[in-house]
Subunit: 349 residues, 3 copies
């Protein structure tokens, strides 16, 4: 078990120590789950209340957080970053994976593997695939014909990469991901039947893209569905054919992009947000959770609701909706007062 | 084909028989699909109308359901439970699975398998895994390093269990489930790039947990994402890092929990409901379908809408919204009447 | 690289050529991504603006689309259909898949394979399965006991087909699909625990059904969950136990159907739409994106919102909500004017 004093951890993260420097820390935990001996953190006023009740022996906190009496703390400007360093310090021993090509992997003769590539048990690599140096392909992965995978990628079990998909360097594909499935396109025939529109394009992930478990990126009708460098995609995200996602974007779980949606660089789509087909979001756009974006959004705008609009405006409307019963009361009173007035003026006449 | 008389079925479920006890029943079906010879059920007034048109030869019904003239019935207080017994009686012959370890399974030497464990074709079990007695691992499953699986579990094909995940007894993991994928966490660097936050924790399922097809439970940033005993999770459910779900909860399909959400015991989240990060739901909370919970919910409360609020209040607001056009008309009339009054009083002056 | 003149392409699609017939086209692309040498298309006024800026060398357009000056075009009534022909013409060479049964596939002795069936590496086919002629089963697929698959089907990698599921002819199952997972049903016992309700039925797909990546269709509690001929299902679609989906329906990504929902022929459910349990949609119903259908919908109706209602009515209400702040202002003014009137009439008295 890793043991560190609070003094050692303070030195590690560069903060200011409050309380006994000799306090021994044996692990880390969330504020609500922490036990004696563990260090927790509070990056957020939301945690303030929980801090009062935590069993943790110390906490990493922002300067503006009130600590419970007598509880030691490391005070830093960026508790998230500091805690990340402490997390690494207490991380369990890394697992030692067996390297090399497992004898049960089925790898076509024409496949070109770089230096120090690992391929797990029962993985299947189709002809004419190219895999860059040090890339790790875990068990039960399928890599289709003519796929190109860069170097230093990590591909978890049960991933499916369909034919001709291209993946850059340092990409991570979590378990169950599907890249290059057919885009969803049909033409309704006169008899009502749906004729399949060919999806002849592919999917391109640039460098440093991470795709969460069970997410799907469909191949383009033609050309390619494109995810640019540094973009991070959570679990269950649906990216339809011909979408283009800019650099360093964030797509949270259960987001859905319809066909040919364009997302600008640095944009963040919160959980379950949707974007209609052919809609363009600018750079650094923020889309709220559960929002449905139906129109183009300019750079830097924050939108929410369905149909999504300026977030401040959406909040105003939601507040108005909450006050609808009161509004109805006001109208009733007006009606009553007018009746009385009408009666009065009638009397006058 | 199984053949039972209505008298035999009535004896089986303990209800009151109406109509001919010798009626022969050869199968079960939904009220809209049933054919002659089949028995159906109506637990719900919703089915009343369909019962009038059904082709079924008999029905299991609550006492307050009106039966079509001359249609035999078994009348019981709890038709659901009674029908479950009849379902088992007409269930197809159970499939006889081959037991034991399939020769194509790849099982590391250090793996400890309990008594009567089955491992299917092309399953892969990494080093230092422990599997309890009678647990069944179907084909094409991946079990990562140092995973612990209890006894009497059933793990369907194409499941991925990442390293160090711990699973209790009698758990069921449906096809495509991913346990222990990395939590979704990044820090934005000064240049806009997203730096990955290590996810050093794991996932713990206690006993009797069932996880639906293609659902994902992410590993914790530290410590563990926890699903307590008896909780049942439907398909496509997303459980983010560091969530804690109490005992006997129900999470219906496409539910999404953001990081560190806590769900109390016995709570029910209907389809597509979402819970924001760090939000706590008490015990026996009911969350409506499509709801988005943004704030803590006390024990026993029923919430719906987005942002989720008291369900009765939400219904009231929705009714008010439906009456908005009428409200506008009332305001128009008020404006007209006031204009007239103003005219009248002007005249007066 | 395929090279075609605009004259050749015009002949192919049967339209009217505007501009230089000798223009050389070497590829196709979306209007925003196109480069010199490529042909693009504009089926939609939405594209009009982008057409003005495109680098494409030509476009396939509707007669009512204004072309940029000097840009060659093929003018047709149905640009989508015309472009589909051109897409096929420029499609990359089809991949030549190895046919036959891969030696690593595990196929039970009792399995009956039709003529020219292909089974990929590490696929697993359980006993008593029947597979029709020319059906292709890709690597890492699991086919459970007593499954029946028709002819000319295409089953992508990492698909799970559970026991006794029946699949018609010419069906396509994309990667990660799960057919026949247990329906989600429990009875709460007196102690709060959830008792599993047996799911003894199965799943039936008729002919020409396509199921998108990672979609799940649960087996019925009894009888079968049914998808009729010609229906197309996108990625991440959840179809619960005992649903019945009519012919030629379209279910877009992330749609969720609760148990026993019925969807009529030719109906279209847009992305993320939901249908409550036991609800029936008629034929040719249109359900808007993100809608939640809680009540039966008659043939041909278009609904949206949550709870879903007539689409025109939903739009009206949304417009009213947008005008709520204005409404509040009108009420404030009324209140002020009434106060003044009351003051006036008070004076009168």
């Amino acid at each position: 078990m890793t043991r560190k004093t609070l003094a050692e951890l303070t030195e590690l993260v560069g903060g200011r120590l409050k309380g006994d420097p000799a306090t021994v820390i044996t692990g880390i935990a969330g504020v609500r789950e922490a036990q004696a001996g563990q260090i927790t953190f509070a990056a957020n006023v939301r945690y303030q209340e929980w801090l009062q009740k935590t069993r943790a022996s110390a906490a990493v906190v922002k300067p503006d957080i009130d600590m419970p009496d007598g509880m030691p703390a490391i005070v830093v400007e960026r508790p998230e970053a500091a805690f990340e360093k402490i997390t690494r310090c207490f991380a369990p021993e890394p697992i030692e994976y067996e390297e090399g090509i497992h004898p049960t992997a089925v790898i076509a003769e024409s496949v070109k593997l770089g230096v120090d590539v690992s391929v797990g048990a029962h993985a299947v690599i189709a002809p004419d695939v190219v895999v860059g140096d040090r890339t790790v392909i875990r068990p039960l992965v399928y890599v289709g014909h003519e796929v190109e995978i860069g170097s230093d990628c990590l591909i978890y079990p049960n991933v499916t990469i369909r034919e001709r998909v291209r993946i850059g360097d340092r990409c991570i594909l979590h378990a169950g991901v599907v890249l290059g499935s057919d885009g969803f396109g049909y033409q309704r025939a006169a008899d009502g039947s749906q004729e399949k529109i060919m999806q002849t394009g592919t999917v391109v992930l640039e460098d440093d893209v991470e795709v969460g478990a069970c997410s799907c990126i469909d191949r383009a009708r033609f050309d390619r569905t494109l995810v640019k460098s540094g973009t991070k995609i959570d679990n269950f995200v649906q990216i339809a054919h011909n979408c283009v996602i800019g650099r360093n974007a964030i797509l949270v779980s259960q987001v859905g992009l319809c066909g040919s949606a364009h997302i600008g660089a640095g944009s963040v789509l919160a959980g379950k947000a949707s974007v209609n087909g052919h809609v363009t979001l600018g750079d650094n756009v923020m889309v709220g959770g559960l929002a449905g974006v139906t129109r183009d959004v300019p750079d830097g705008m924050r939108v929410s609701g369905f149909p999504a609009q300026d977030h401040a405006q959406e909040l105003r409307l939601m507040a108005h909706i909450q006050r609808l019963p009161e509004l109805v009361e006001r109208i009733k009173k007006l009606e009553k007062r007018i009746r009385e007035l009408e009666h009065t003026t009638d009397d006058d006449c």
